[in-house]
């Protein structure tokens, strides 16, 4: 009997991912929740590796698991009362939210299982991984190339979004 290694790895990572995501929501201390967020980002990077998207996986670890969580931890520690016993309290209607989430998840799982999906079909044999020059070259072409199909327009809009965010942060955070 052969073991399907990617399938086993997927289920292990998926359980870590969903479990950590739940922990982010239910942990009573906000710092613990933030630390579980690191696990969520790390597990997501694992999923990307399984999808042959190594570059995205590395970026995920560097930016999300590294920089973003550090920023979040800083923000928590600079906030008053963040170290109290129940800094991540439950809403009074948590049972309703939980019920809705379970129903929604059941609905989506049923829909995905019962309908044909075009993306990720067997014929869609991961074109990025087989491209000449590896995934990074292909990714670069997909982002900027003016000659072949590329997402240059949304990429440029995203740069304006970042600029707006910086200007806005200065406008709101500046000393009088």
């Amino acid at each position: 009997m052969t073991i399907d290694v990617p399938a086993v790895a997927f289920w292990v990572i998926a359980i870590i991912l969903v479990g950590s995501a739940l922990a982010v929501v239910v942990m009573p201390k906000i710092v613990h929740a933030a630390l579980f967020l690191v696990a969520v980002f790390g597990a997501a990077a694992g999923i990307y590796v399984l999808l042959n998207a190594e570059f995205i996986a590395i970026v995920q670890v560097l930016i999300y698991a590294g920089a973003v969580t550090i920023l979040i931890l800083f923000a928590i520690m600079l906030t008053q009362n963040s170290m109290s016993r129940v800094s991540n309290p439950f809403s009074g209607q948590w049972w309703l939210a939980g019920l809705i989430c379970v129903l929604l998840a059941a609905g989506i799982i049923f829909a995905v299982n019962s309908s044909p999906m075009a993306a990720g079909a067997a014929s869609d044999a991961l074109p990025l991984a087989n491209a000449a020059g590896g995934t990074v070259v292909k990714l670069g072409q997909l982002l900027y190339s003016p000659f072949a199909y590329s997402y240059v327009l949304p990429f440029e809009i995203a740069s304006v979004v970042l600029l707006v965010a910086i200007v806005g942060a200065i406008m709101i955070g500046r000393e009088e």
């Binding site: 609905g107 989506i108 049923f110 829909a111 995905v112 019962s114 309908s115 044909p116 999906m117 075009a118 993306a119 990720g120 079909a121 869609d124 003016p146 000659f147 072949a148 199909y149 590329s150 997402y151 240059v152 327009l153 949304p154 809009i157 995203a158 304006v160 979004v161 600029l163 707006v164 965010a165 200007v167 806005g168 406008m171 709101i172 009088e176």
Partner: protein
């Protein structure tokens, strides 16, 4: 199908590009000169450049790429996109002009910073109407929304403003997440993010009853439902409208709503999602949301004492009428409902700018924003009160104002869809009658009620000028509503390239 990017494609992006560059210019100009008039004049006159580019695209439609798309189908410059570009430039002109005095008096930011944030958001709105690919639609939505969060929190001495900004960020992020979930499901089901391709693939999947497409439809409608403040996703609107600085509120109520509808229609019609409604009764969901939105907006508006909260519920009610048009599109997949929505939006934008100009004028002069503060405004500031009264009566749909024709046309379109939407039309008429009460109440207070003070209010030049423009606009729309419909016909129908080919 894909050609490399050339000058013609850059030209097709020129309106948005020039708005972004104008935003940068205004921001930089602030560092060089401290003369507010120079900065404001640069922004207002500078808006003529994107306007000129938009008009050049309208006139020279034959010189565009054959299928009117650029940047690998991500930019779609059809009549629909050009209509919205024009509408957003009008909004930008009105908001920049009317906020000139208010920013100096109440906000501790420079005029250049304020204007640049509005201009960059405006570029996002224009892109929301003219992008034909899911990632571009989403990132344009973020370019629109992030400046709006900033605009909500700009009166930094006011805790309500901070609360508004935090609520807006959290709920906006939540709605973006729901929208993205829907888009991810749509990508999963169709294997592409290109709306034209999606339309082709959904047509093929129509008979097989694809449940993922249905789920994606619901998620995407919910995500945009936040942006257009449809019930039950409206909870943010009153608090944020009340807490934000009033010119920002004006920008939310016209810009954000028009952009939300622009992208909603673009994704649902151009992306062929509306076509799957016939078999799945998705229009029932839209019709119910429209009914609840109209009713809740108009009934709760009756109870308000703060004019900005009243206008928030009024704008929820107006979104309800627009959704009646959307339900008509969903049930028939025909351009008629789309035409009604475009005409209604054009009228709504001009009238709401006028109504908010009156509110900003009063806040400018007295710092007050309750409905009872409007007592006797007819004697204290006759021109502003008269213009605002005209706009409120148009919003209420009193004949023969433009608002009446817009509402009549949208309800007639729904009526023509057969008996399925008759109840919705009747409900729309009842709501219209309810709305007269609270709009007329303000008019009555302005012209009949006895004021506490009788002194004349000095209105700033920018407010008076905006009101004059709005009044001329609304009178022109009233007289020329028929021409508006004829002119919009091409733009409304052009969104349905896939509907005719089964």
């Amino acid at each position: 199908m894909t050609s490399h990017i050339d000058g013609i494609q850059i030209w097709m992006l020129a309106p948005e590009l020039s708005v972004v560059l104008l935003g940068f210019l205004v921001l930089g100009l602030d560092l060089i000169t401290h003369n507010r008039r120079v900065v404001a004049a640069t922004a207002l006159i500078g808006l003529l450049i994107p306007l000129g580019f938009t008009l050049s695209l309208v006139v020279k439609q034959d010189a565009l790429t054959p299928d009117h798309t650029a940047f690998f189908h991500m930019l779609v410059v059809d009549g629909y996109a050009l209509f919205f570009q024009f509408l957003f430039l009008v909004i930008g002109f009105g908001v920049l002009l009317v906020s000139y005095g208010y920013v100096e008096k109440f906000l501790r930011v420079t005029i250049g910073e304020y204007y640049s944030i509005i201009l960059l958001s405006l570029a996002g709105m224009m892109l929301m109407a003219s992008t034909g690919e899911l990632i571009s639609v989403y990132i344009s939505l973020e370019l629109t929304s992030i400046p709006l969060y900033i605009l909500a929190g700009l009166s930094r001495s006011d805790t309500r403003s901070a609360e508004a900004a935090v609520k807006y960020v959290l709920l906006g992020a939540m709605s973006s997440a729901i929208l993205l979930y829907g888009m991810a499901l749509l990508y999963g089901a169709t294997g592409t993010t290109d709306l034209t391709e999606i339309a082709r693939n959904t047509q093929a999947a129509l008979s097989s009853g694809n449940l993922v497409l249905l789920a994606a439809d619901v998620f995407i409608f919910t995500g945009f439902g936040f942006k257009i403040s449809a019930v039950p996703f409206h909870m943010w609107a009153p608090d944020i409208y009340e807490g934000a600085p009033t010119p920002s509120t004006l920008f939310f109520s016209v810009g954000s709503k028009a952009a939300g509808f622009a992208a909603l229609l673009r994704v649902f019609i151009f992306g062929g999602l509306a076509a799957i409604s016939g078999g799945t009764y998705l229009w029932v969901m839209v019709a119910i949301v429209a009914a609840v939105t109209m009713t809740l907006g108009n009934v709760v508006a009756l109870l308000q004492t703060n004019i900005k909260r009243m206008m928030a519920y009024s704008s929820i009610g107006q979104a309800g009428y627009l959704l009646v048009g959307f339900a008509a599109i969903m049930i028939s997949n025909s351009p008629a409902g789309n035409l009604g929505i475009l005409a209604f939006l054009a009228v709504y934008v001009v009238t709401n700018i006028g109504a908010f100009t009156g509110i900003i004028g009063l806040a400018d002069a007295t710092g007050k924003e309750n409905i009872r503060d409007f007592d006797g405004l007819g004697r204290r500031a006759p021109f502003i009160a008269a213009g605002m009264g005209l706009c409120l009566l148009s919003l209420a749909g009193i004949p023969p104002m433009a608002g009446f024709w817009g509402k009549l046309f949208i309800l007639l379109t729904a009526w023509n869809q057969g008996s399925a939407l008759t109840w919705l039309v009747v409900l729309g008429l009842i709501n219209s009658a309810i709305s007269i009460v609270y709009y007329a109440n303000v008019v009555w207070r302005m012209f009949v009620a006895e004021p506490e003070k009788r002194d004349r209010l000095a209105m700033s030049g920018s407010v008076t000028l905006t009101m004059a423009v709005a009044v001329v606009g609304i009178l022109a729309l009233t007289i020329a509503f028929g021409f508006l419909l004829t002119g919009l016909g091409g733009g409304a129908g052009g969104l349905f390239p896939t509907a005719t080919t089964p």
